[in-house]
């Protein structure tokens, strides 16, 4: 097994370095992140103020932490209109190359995506949070544990997000064009993950709906762990739920890949 791990590690490094080629895009991403951070902070500050200084357990500094952490994680977990590398490769037939390698296709792409996310986090994620902390201020925990658990939670969040996008993309084995499904996924996932407003502010029925999906595990969970909104055993529980979704969505992607291979008609000769 060890040599295979070395293969996936190489793929992760390749994903990291590949992303490092797009420095200007990173800068543009950072700027967008920060601008939207200010807009979202202004709106949610007003909401908290209108609610009398506290809204579903968020005070102004708390909601600020939520806003800036979500802006910081956004690039790494790749919410929104998901890119479609695998879908594109199914469509143009390059997926054939992936099947000629002695490695698992889903794991190959996951490894590369973890590398991509790691790079995204450095020039785009961390500075976003820093800008928020220096300008509007935010509350962060003062002990090490939430950060430690937070890192695990981020890795799990990136993994859940990747596996969801992978499952959506391999629908391309059946659909020639996945754009419709992907944008539907983007809108649903972004909302239920808690990007527009925290999942904790959702009315009961919507919150229940959100928690029946993997989406809160992509954004709300790592934010809750990192910001110290949940602590101790509750944090561990969130990580367990994230791990649960990794297994479920991961298995779904594998089933779809296996079924899709039977369906595959390599396009373009």
């Amino acid at each position: 097994m060890r040599p295979d791990l070395s293969a996936y590690w190489q793929l992760t490094r390749a994903g990291f370095r590949k992303q490092a080629n797009y420095r200007l895009a990173m800068l543009a991403g950072l700027t967008t992140n920060v601008v939207f951070g200010f807009i979202r902070a202004a709106i949610l500050f007003a909401a908290v103020a209108a609610a009398g200084g506290e809204l579903s357990g968020y005070d102004q500094d708390g909601i600020s932490a939520y806003v800036w952490l979500s802006q910081g994680l956004l690039g790494a977990v790749e919410l929104g209109f998901a890119p479609s590398e695998i879908g594109d490769r199914i469509k143009n037939g390059d997926i054939a190359i992936d099947f000629t390698r002695p490695v698992d296709v889903q794991a190959t792409y996951l490894a590369a995506d973890l590398g991509r996310a790691a790079y995204t986090f450095i020039p785009r994620g961390l500075p976003s949070v820093l800008v928020g902390a220096l300008t509007v201020g935010l509350t962060m925990p003062e002990t090490a544990l939430p950060y430690l658990l937070g890192v695990v939670s981020i890795v799990l969040a990136v993994t859940v997000s990747f596996l969801c996008r992978y499952a959506v993309n391999v629908l391309g084995f059946w659909l020639v064009e996945t754009r419709g499904v992907r944008s539907l996924y983007g809108v649903t996932a972004t909302f239920l993950a808690g990007l527009y407003v925290p999942v904790h502010i959702f009315p009961g029925w919507l919150s229940a709906l959100a928690h029946a999906t993997p989406f809160p595990s992509i954004l709300q969970s790592p934010i809750d762990v990192l910001s110290g909104r949940v602590t101790g055993w509750d944090s561990v529980q969130l990580l367990v739920i994230q791990a649960f979704w990794v297994l479920v969505i991961g298995a779904l992607g594998r089933v779809l890949t296996t079924a899709g291979r039977r369906k595959l008609e390599v396009q373009g000769g």
């Binding site: 293969a7 099947f99 000629t100 008609e265």
Partner: protein, 348 residues
């Protein structure tokens, strides 16, 4: 592993490729002519107006390849070449029939098979587009579980033989087509596969690049005994590289044998082109040869002959009896021409 490979090459174990009644169908959906003519599709009727038809890309194909052979797999576009290759490598699922590559079922043993074969698709890249070439080799070495020494040694060997030293630090997207194709071949050979499958490896390459690639493949085959299976539209590839030719026509095997035999089967003729010292009338009476045409008042004339029944020397001697020859050349049968003749004879 390497012992196993050697055993395979010695022929101790069965064929390296074994295909029996292999069939692959594709379902094609297209809008019917009726709808296109009206130009006003009704959304609810759209489904009804789609025609579903089944196209048989590969039709009950049967052949085997023995270890160490070099097989050219030729045929027109859409004849079923790539589809066959994709079933041999476990990319496509056959509709019917059986296929075994390196003794394995390519579908259920896809990953194990991938360690033992190398595949190059001339129109697709297996390299990491944004990264320096060197890194693609490093990643592939890890994927194929090569030890550090093995990876270093094999990479160095391939880099030297394929003259890639200056391009190692260039991002793949900046390589020229010729450079990239050499890199693709190296990438497919990094793990020293028993079987190398090349799908149009020389497509788009200039004469010199083709030449270098072929020389390398000949060398690789001679030193390692690698089995070669390649599809191509290039006569030179077949002539230089292959000792056996499979011609596929509409998904079925139309010919299986040597290249010379292929020419003989369809009566492919060679053409003697002679440049004469002075304008001469059409050379229609040369024994064993057929006059094809003349240029420049008969200064250059083209004579076809069948290599099975006469020789170029005999035809030349016949010409020399009539007039003085200043220069000459012999044209080989064109592969497309040979394939076309095979197709025609099958359809008659």
């Amino acid at each position: 592993m390497s012992q196993h490979a050697t055993a395979l090459r010695d022929g101790a174990i069965g064929p390296i490729v074994e295909v029996h009644d292999l069939t692959r169908e594709f379902v094609v959906r297209r809008k019917s002519a009726r709808m296109r003519a009206s130009g006003r599709p009704v959304a609810s009727r759209r489904r009804l107006l789609r025609e579903r038809s089944t196209v048989t890309a590969v039709d009950a194909m049967t052949f085997t390849v023995r270890p160490g052979e070099a097989v050219g797999y030729i045929g027109a576009n859409g004849a079923g070449k790539s589809t066959t290759i994709k079933m041999l490598t476990g990319i496509l699922v056959p509709t019917a029939g059986s296929v075994r590559t390196c003794g394995l079922d390519p579908l259920t043993s896809r990953r194990e098979l991938a360690r033992r074969i190398g595949v190059v698709f001339g129109q697709r890249s297996q390299l990491w587009w944004d990264l320096p070439l060197r890194e693609s080799f490093a990643i592939l070495a890890a994927i194929h579980r090569l030890g550090p020494d093995e990876a270093r040694g094999r990479t160095a060997e391939l880099v030297e033989q394929l003259e890639m030293a200056e391009t190692l630090d260039t991002p793949v997207r900046q390589l020229s087509l010729g450079q990239r194709m050499r890199a693709e071949i190296a990438a497919a050979l990094l793990h020293s596969p028993e079987l190398l499958i090349l799908d149009e490896p020389t497509i788009g390459l200039d004469v010199l690049s083709k030449q270098r690639l072929r020389e390398f493949l000949i060398h690789e085959r001679a030193t390692r005994g690698t089995t070669l299976l390649l599809t191509t539209h290039d006569m030179g590839d077949i002539e230089r590289l292959c000792d056996r030719v499979l011609v596929v026509d509409r998904g079925a095997l139309a010919y299986d044998g040597t290249l010379a035999g292929l020419g003989a089967t369809v009566g492919a003729q060679r053409v003697l082109v002679v440049d004469l010292a002075e304008p001469t009338g059409d050379l229609t009476d040369i024994p064993g040869a057929v006059h094809l045409g003349s240029e420049g008042d008969g200064l250059r004339q083209r004579l076809a002959f069948d290599p099975e029944s006469t020789t170029a020397a005999a035809v030349l001697a016949g010409v020399s009896d009539v007039c003085e020859v200043r220069d000459l050349s012999v044209e080989e049968p064109d592969i497309e021409d040979v394939v076309r003749r095979i197709y025609q004879s099958r359809r008659r």
